[in-house]
Amino acid sequence: MKKVSLVSVLSVLMVLGFVGLALAADGDVEKGGHMGFLMAASVLAAGLAVGIAASGCGVGMGHCAKGCLDATARNPELAGKFTVTMFIGLALIESLTIYALVIALIALYANPMLPALKGIFGL
């Protein structure tokens, strides 16, 4: 529990730091600040998306491997079937992280918001 609260405090601090950065950028450069903030937010979102998705998928894949090992220990002659089923399950779980990765790549390389916001801010 202690660790969780530490992580949340750290993330709140980080967000607050970014707000200060954005405001400073806004003061420094009239038009470029919002774009810079949006780009920074895209990079941050991409990293966080893959990180959070991977942590959840790691738990899921651990459960999957645990189940397969338990079953193999109880019934070793069916090990081949269990392994095949486990790999299918692992690939299905892994694809959830891949979705997050695709979202992250979209945010990094093909962000649909950037051109629209460029128009709005007159860049």
């Binding site: 299918i88 690939a91 299905l92 892994e94 694809s95 891949i98 979705y99 990765l101 695709v102 790549l105």
Partner: protein
């Protein structure tokens, strides 16, 4: 993401055709992912022709290998459907998916080639075939009653179930196409990053071994999900 070296693009450049995508119908038809999906199709057709050119009662060589694959696929389909007739209806589509996607995926591991499946357009096309086929099979087996599948078991719940079912069917399109595309493209990006950052000799080797496994498993999963959807559409109502 543009590959640095593609043999077919260099060949087409030498002939003087537009080989790097862009505007215009010819340029779109000859974009790199299209070139390599044509190559995968040609390999599939040649394999089938070679395997069936001399059919013996006692198979040898190529025919033996292909009979093993096709027989295994047939048994697998029968295990899933428990009905010889239904299995034979979807067998051509599933077998084509298996060969085409497997060859396409493994093509990315050869230097100078790319996986056509590492492009969202190709996987969306494959998904469109699968989705259209299972809806068509549903209408063929149940007639207009197939629409009842979308309404849930209880008639009073239909207004709630209908949007949920429609969204789940749209989600199938996205998940089926993005799963294959994302796995292939993430493997390629990871390999590219390791080549650039960690040196070209031994660092990308573990990812390449993992890539071999991922190619096989993703083919199997695409095939398996197509089978499951088709079987579900053909199943009798409870």
């Amino acid at each position: 993401m543009e590959h640095p070296l593609l043999f077919l693009s260099i060949l087409l450049d030498a002939v003087g055709l537009p080989a790097h995508g862009g505007e215009g119908l010819l340029a779109k038809l000859l974009a790199p992912h299209m070139q390599y999906s044509y190559l995968a199709m040609i390999i599939c057709i040649v394999l089938a022709k070679v395997a069936t050119s001399r059919k013996d009662m006692i198979p040898t060589g190529m025919q033996n290998v292909m009979e093993m694959f096709v027989g295994g696929l047939d048994d697998f389909l029968y295990d899933q459907t428990h009905d010889r007739k239904k299995a034979m209806i979807i067998f051509p589509m599933i077998a084509t998916f298996a060969y085409l996607i497997l060859i396409s995926n493994y093509m990315g591991l050869v230097p100078g080639f790319m996986s056509p499946t590492a492009n969202l357009n190709v996987t969306l096309g494959l998904t469109a075939v699968s989705i259209f086929t299972y809806h068509a099979l549903g209408f063929r087996f149940h007639g207009i009653k197939y629409l009842k599948h979308f309404m849930g078991p209880i008639p009073a719940m239909a207004p709630i179930m209908l949007p949920i079912e429609i969204f789940s069917h749209i989600g199938r399109i996205l998940s089926l196409s993005i799963r294959l595309f994302g796995n292939m493209v993430s493997k390629e990006i990871l390999l590219g990053l390791l080549f650039m950052l960690a040196g070209p000799y031994l660092a990308p080797l573990p990812i390449m071994i993992l890539g071999c496994l991922v190619c096989l498993i993703q083919t199997f999963i695409f095939m398996m999900l197509s089978i499951v959807y088709s079987v579900e559409a053909m199943a009798e109502e409870h």
